[in-house]
């Protein structure tokens, strides 16, 4: 049995993180650039011709910050927010793609997992997610200097069975044994519940980039018992960005006659401006658009906060109903909620906080929501705590136990197209139900069963999970066979089905055809690199990657004196950078991976003030306190980012 580190991963719509338990506290593992966040962006690099065969070589895939840069240059080769497409069928993806610049592959048939066209290749959403996961895995491996094969991955609490299965598939493709899927709000509660021996009822309001979740938990003696959960897997900061983006696009068209929608790169530029404006409006009373258009005109517009808040009110209001339903399901009033925890970047918006205050009557009771932990990191930290619980390696997590629930009711289609619920929503998982089926016609040997997930009365309005046939029923008079079918929702929230015929004692053959999803075989074929486990390969690969990264950093540092900000550094600061640079040059010749990593981090630290100065020169003071690498990606493309995430080989 492998006894290596179990990591916790927050696979987010906008950003992803990996964390682990360092002794008795969870810590985020930074990328080699010192940044904790890996943007959930995947880009396919342009293909170079292989000189030996004169055929196109293997395309490589980049993840994170450098992929984000490609968004503006080669938008047709980049995909982001892929989480919104996970576990969704063709129709849902089509609707979703109205807001995204990427295209579906042309030849998809109904019932197939949709694939996205990326340059000349096509990928399913789990494959794209697998690239992100593999980047996180590599970041962790670099950090530990040893292979990482086991992980806990978080998912929105309101994810359905297909979305959960797709996430697990992605883990497997990335070479990770996914020990558990944990619901994001629950993970956040774990992170918060660690240092204080809390008792009582808490609500976690998790408003992220693409999803909204609310969970209500009861904490008792280390047991985190989820009472109810609700949410919307289609509601997040993205929707707020889209509002601003749509207005800008429409106004540009109306006032300047330019239809930017035909220019994906320009739309991405505008989206970036919209996001910046949104972020600025959390701290300031107004933000501005000032964008140069392809025809030379400028689009300038002021957005006062009041206008922004009016715009997003409908989006915010959509978070209120799930909160009320969750409280009703848990059987609590707002006054009975002892604490509220805010998770997700969108909870930085003042209007969101005002809504939460109102929903849970916080101000009126002299309470404030918890925001002590960084809302971007808290889910990953909680995932690390759960990883610690599973590994059983820490005294701190020994007494902790998470009891989560299934967010959606499970049902079976009955005659007439109605749904009979067999497992109610908010049932603690694992949960099971046993049902009995029989035949309606003499000698009938098959019975078809349709399993659904959702709260609506009609099967057509619920999410179809699977259809299956009970086969090989011994021929008997109608109504005589008695087939017992057992439905089991496991601790990941994923459904398993088994069946047996009781009269004849014969096990009925059962083939569960998921209405949507990848087959085991398909997943097997999509596994990114099967050689990942080879120890020897592994350390060699790490070393090569580390050297490549060092090269990129050094190249950026070499360009630094050309930037005006360089002259603002004191002689000591410049000297310190030179020392760190020379040290890295020396150490990277050797093969001590740890030493190289440390030298890179040291150089990154030495350039921190330079990065700040560079930012001050280029943008407003809104983004302070970041490292050079983060600054690089915030500023325009002419300022070179010091280094990218290591490009990953595409096999």
């Amino acid at each position: 049995m492998a006894e290596g580190h179990v990591v916790g991963i927050d696979l987010g719509t906008t950003n992803s993180l990996v964390a682990y338990m360092e002794g008795d506290r969870p810590v985020v593992i930074p990328g080699v650039d010192g940044s904790n966040l890996v943007p959930s962006v995947v880009a396919l690099d342009p293909v170079a011709l292989d000189p030996t065969t004169a055929k196109p070589g293997r395309p490589t895939v980049t993840v994170g910050n450098s992929a984000r840069k490609a968004l503006i240059e080669t938008p047709e080769r980049v995909i982001y927010s892929v989480k919104r497409l996970m576990g969704r069928d063709l129709e849902e993806v089509r609707t979703e793609l109205k807001f995204f610049p990427f295209r579906l592959a042309g030849d998809i048939e109904a019932g197939e997992v949709p694939r996205i066209q990326l340059g000349e290749l096509r990928f399913t959403p789990p494959e794209i997610s697998a690239y992100i996961l593999r980047q996180l895995k590599r970041n962790a491996e670099r950090f530990f200097g040893s292979p990482v094969t086991q992980a806990v991955i978080t998912v929105p609490a309101y994810f359905n069975d297909a979305q959960r299965q797709a996430t697990k598939d992605a883990g497997r493709m990335a070479g990770l044994d996914v020990l558990r899927l944990v619901n994001e709000p629950t993970a956040a509660a774990l992170a918060y519940g660690l240092d204080r021996a809390k008792e009582g009822t808490i609500a976690v309001y998790d408003f992220g980039g693409g999803t909204f979740d609310i969970s209500i938990l009861k904490l008792c003696d280390g047991i985190f018992e989820v009472q109810s959960t609700n949410g919307d897997t289609h509601l997040g900061g993205d929707d707020i960005d889209n509002l601003l983006l749509t207005i800008a696009l429409d106004e540009i068209y109306a006032e300047h006659g330019v239809d930017l929608r035909a220019h994906p790169g320009a739309v991405q530029g505008l989206r970036k401006a919209a996001i910046d404006a949104k972020i600025k409006l959390s701290t300031e009373q107004a933000a501005h658009f000032d964008i140069e258009l392809p025809n030379g005109d400028r689009y300038q517009r002021e957005i006062p906060r009041a206008v922004f808040e009016m715009l997003m009110e409908p989006v915010l209001k959509r978070t209120a109903a799930p909160c009320k339903q969750a409280m009703a399901d848990a059987g609590v009033t707002p006054e009975q909620i002892d604490e509220v925890v805010l998770v997700g970047g969108s909870t930085r918006i003042p209007a969101v906080r005002a809504l939460v205050d109102d929903l849970f009557r916080l101000g009126a009771r002299g309470k404030k929501p918890h925001t002590e932990l960084n809302p971007d990191e808290v889910v990953a930290l909680g995932a690390a705590v759960q990883a610690g619980i599973l590994a059983g390696a820490s005294k701190t997590t020994d007494d902790m136990l998470l009891l989560d629930v299934t967010p959606l009711s499970l049902g079976i289609e009955q005659l007439g197209g109605t749904v009979a619920r067999i497992i109610q929503r908010n049932s603690t998982i694992p949960a099971s139900a046993t049902e009995h089926f029989t035949t309606g016609v003499d000698g009938q040997t098959n019975v078809a069963i349709h399993v659904l997930q959702g709260e609506r009365e009609l099967a057509a309005d619920c999410r179809s999970l699977a259809r299956f046939d009970l086969k090989g029923i011994p021929p008997m008079a109608a109504g005589l066979p008695r087939i017992e079918v057992r439905f089991l929702i496991d601790a990941d929230g994923i459904l398993h089905v088994s069946a047996r015929e009781q009269r004849s004692g014969k096990a009925a053959e059962i083939e569960v055809k998921p209405t949507y999803g990848l087959t085991d075989e398909q997943v097997e074929n999509m596994i990114l690199d099967s050689f990942d486990h080879a120890e020897e390969d592994f350390s060699r690969r790490l070393l090569i990657e580390a050297r490549n990264e060092a090269d990129t950093i050094l190249a950026a540092v070499a360009r630094a004196p050309q930037n005006p900000a360089w002259n603002e550094l004191s002689a000591e600061e410049q000297a310190a950078i030179a020392v760190a640079r020379d040290r890295l040059v020396l150490i990277m010749q050797g093969s001590d991976l740890n030493a190289i990593s440390h030298a890179m981090v040291a150089l990154d630290k030495a350039t921190r003030r330079f990065a700040e100065l560079m930012m001050d020169a280029a943008v407003s003071s809104a983004i302070r306190g970041k490292t050079m690498s983060e600054a690089g990606k915030e500023i325009d493309e002419t300022v070179s980012a010091p280094h990218d995430f290591a490009p990953a080989e595409f096999k």
Partner: protein, 249 residues
């Protein structure tokens, strides 16, 4: 520890071979997890069949067993132990969910009694799902309560009035009108029916005590009474739900 159920067959522990009671979740000798038991929900908690339950004690026992059984405790165990932990925890959760809720607990106990009275257990389980199914005679009584519940005879007139008012309210809402008088009257009706639901609950509790203390002869009428009460309650709470829906928050 779990109570020993008298009629259980002793089996050998897979790990240490010591014979133990089949309805235990752990080997009493080596503490290893055992394959899922065949016991009912009460036996999971080591409880006798009783309707009056000490809820705080039930919760405490649920937490204690969860700590030992939950799949999180077996993330790195053998495949067999993982499977058993999953099955045992599902059973524990199903049992807790059923027993902690007074109505589900009553229905479940009645179902168990039905089984003892010779009705096959599957005939009493849950809602009907049978494909092209024929109704099984015994089933009708307990099953499909939702469909079969009839208006309680003593409430015919009031229910009729209420339904009229609900319809009127729906029409008014459709037209975008508010009728404060009608609203007031619905609020009064709601209060009354909530009161009736509470009365049913009190009667149910009284029957619990009779059933818990009684012998077979005393239990029979209590069971009949409880079935009727559950029926009545379902009907009443559906009405209350409809009124609440129409009145909004």
């Amino acid at each position: 520890m779990l109570k020993v159920v008298e009629n259980a067959v002793p089996v050998a522990c897979w790990a240490c071979s010591v014979a133990h009671n089949e309805s235990t979740l752990f080997c009493p000798d080596c503490s290893k997890i055992q394959p899922p038991t065949t016991g009912d929900y009460f036996s999971v908690f080591g409880l006798e069949h009783r309707l009056n339950i000490d809820l705080p004690a039930l919760e405490q026992e649920f937490h204690r067993l969860s700590r030992r059984l939950h799949p999180d405790r077996f993330a790195r165990a053998s495949e067999n132990e993982k499977d058993w932990s999953l099955a045992d925890t599902a059973l524990l959760n199903d049992a807790y969910r059923t027993l902690k809720d007074p109505l589900r607990r009553t229905e479940y106990l009645l179902k168990l009694q039905g089984a003892e009275m010779g009705v096959s257990p599957e005939a009493c389980s849950g809602t009907t799902l049978l494909q092209n199914q024929e109704k099984i005679q015994n089933q009708e009584k307990i099953q499909n309560r939702e469909k079969t519940s009839r208006v309680p005879a003593d409430l015919l007139e009031e229910v009729f009035d209420l339904n009229m008012q609900l319809e009127e309210m729906r029409m008014a809402r459709k037209m975008g009108q508010e009728d404060p008088e009608l609203k007031e009257s619905l609020l009064t009706a709601k209060e009354k029916f909530v009161g009736l639901v509470n009365a049913v609950d009190r009667e149910l509790r009284a029957q619990w005590t009779i059933w818990d203390a009684g012998d077979a002869a005393a239990r029979q009428p209590a069971q009949q009474a409880m079935m009727a009460l559950l029926d009545r309650r379902k009907y009443l709470s559906n009405l209350v739900r409809d009124v609440t829906e129409i009145l909004g928050d």
